[in-house]
């Protein structure tokens, strides 16, 4: 009769959580079996061969190659099978399903900024629908952070200067802890937020409410800066990049397909990574038929603005 609510086990709120738990406790169990056998043997030897006992000590062995090879080989086979099991789960973690909703996360000392596909933004909370794969594209404005949701058993470092990606599918509605797992400075322990998992229709409702509250400019929450299309004009993208089908100095962004052919003849995926790089380091991969004239926007665009622009350009192509 315990009234004390002692937590032993974190809730399993994602598809991956089940896999991880089965795996982890499987390995711990296996290890404990071997460990306990060794400890029992050790204790029994200590008792049996204590110096004041009369146990049989004739023919002591101090070398036995077959035995050595056996207890080297069996654990080796065991760990190799563990490896296959673990690699399988891990590989899945980096293979987001194609129907995943893409959300952006920006880590900053000491808060999480999150942006939904239609521009809805929030800080330190992540509203998301249940039973729907979510892909997070993440970056940091300053130091390394790490996006960690214990209930989902997922974690991914958030690096400045590049995107990292993770995905998960929540299976339980409710609030889950969102933590920063990489030490990031003074207020590290306060870089804490919530993941709020909702039924899909509630999530839709939440999104709509957010939008009505914001009025006409759907992509810009109150008090925050600017929307993607406004940025597109303000930062001068529109000077070279046409969005109406005509040809400008730069590639027509509306006409860009799922792949871009480069002047080197290579093809690259037209994804967030490529778009981000094209803004930060335009010379790196130049689209075929265009000159190397675009200036860098490094230092000109905050990570938030880059994400707004990426989303804006993606919308031009029908959200792909």
């Amino acid at each position: 009769m315990f009234d004390l609510d002692i937590p032993f086990f974190p809730e399993q709120a994602s598809t991956i959580a089940v896999l991880t738990d089965v795996f982890t406790f499987g390995v711990i169990g296996l290890g404990l079996i071997i460990g306990i056998i060794v400890v029992i043997l050790m204790i029994s030897f200590v008792v049996r061969y204590n110096h004041d006992t009369t146990a049989d000590r004739t023919n002591p062995v101090d070398e036995h190659t077959t035995l050595e090879l056996t207890w080297s080989f069996i654990p080796l086979v065991l760990v190799l099978s563990i490896f296959v099991w673990s690699a399988n789960i891990y590989y899945n973690l980096y293979n987001p399903p194609s129907n995943a909703i893409n959300m952006y996360v920006i880590g900053k000392q000491w808060m999480w900024k999150i942006q939904h596909p239609d521009g809805q933004r929030e800080v330190n909370t992540l509203h998301m629908p249940v039973n729907q794969p979510i892909k997070l594209t993440m970056t940091s404005e300053d130091v390394i952070h790490s996006f960690y949701v214990p209930a989902f058993r997922i974690k991914q470092d958030v690096l400045p200067g590049r995107f990292t990606v993770m995905w998960f599918e929540a299976t339980q509605t409710g609030e889950h802890l969102l933590l920063c797992a990489e030490f990031c400075g003074t207020e590290h322990s306060f870089m804490v937020g919530k993941v709020i998992v909702m039924e899909p229709d509630e999530y839709e409702k939440w999104l709509r409410e957010g939008q009505t509250a914001l009025g006409a400019n759907a992509a810009a929450p109150a008090g925050q800066t600017i929307s993607g299309d406004a940025l597109f004009t303000q930062k001068g993208c529109v000077t070279c990049h046409k969005i109406d089908g005509t040809q400008g100095l730069g590639p027509n962004l509306k006409a860009v397909g799922t792949q871009v052919e480069l002047d080197t003849g290579d093809k690259v995926d037209y994804n967030e990574e490529y778009m981000r790089e094209s803004m930060i380091n335009p010379q790196a991969k130049i689209a075929k038929g265009f000159s190397n004239i675009m200036p860098t926007y490094q230092g000109q665009l905050s990570e938030e603005e880059i994400i707004l622009l990426i989303e804006y350009v993606k919308l031009l192509n029908g959200g792909k």
Binding site: T239, L249, N292, I293, P295
Partner: protein, 255 residues
Amino acid sequence: MSLATPTVDTHATGHHHPEVRHQFDDLEQQHDSYSLGMWAFVVQEVMFFSGMIVCYFIFRYKYPEAFIAGSNHLNLPLSTFNTVVLLSSSLTMALAVHAAQLGHKMRLLQFLMATLILGSIFLGVKVYEYKDKYDHNLIPGYNFKWETESTTTEHGEATDEPESLNPALKMPPLAQQVEVFYGLYFILTGAHAIHMVIGAVIILIIMVLAWYDHFSPNYYVPIEMFGLYWHFVDIVWVFLFPLLYLVDRAAAGGH
């Protein structure tokens, strides 16, 4: 090489060469120990430089254009001259060890002197190169400026427009990447130069010891060990020279 404490009574062998330290049985064991210890030290030094050279490779892989641009901006004739100087100093050092083996005191001193002079020439040229970088605003993190010639010359009229739209335009990433190259250049050559300076000081000490007849054909371990150090410093340069100065010279016909 006298010992502070006579320890003959504790030795199983009882008779000791005066140049053998108390912990060793004989000259051969002493020589082998010093030699192995020095090689372990060289291995340590190899790993020390490998840390920096790994950084170099990572960034060369990430920023190939910047490395070509930055490298082609370095002074090749001067550095080739310096390479020859350093290789020569390695030769004179090897000859100094040779002279010590044969017990030729004056030749030993002459070769050590030659090594010292060649090392100083190398360092002098290095100082000149650093000064030159300073004059051309190529000190990363301090006064670094990099003109991106390719964009302005090839598409002169086109670049004006976006720049005028963004008056606060910072350095393009190519410049930042070249800055990383120059950062590595200074770190690598700087670490190498520090090793040279330490080497030069040790040569001076060895010369004084040699002058006072400290060494003999039986006992020249310090000279031999220092030779290993000096040759190692030379090897570092053998790698630094092509890695820093010779990145794709063919690609930069225009420079």
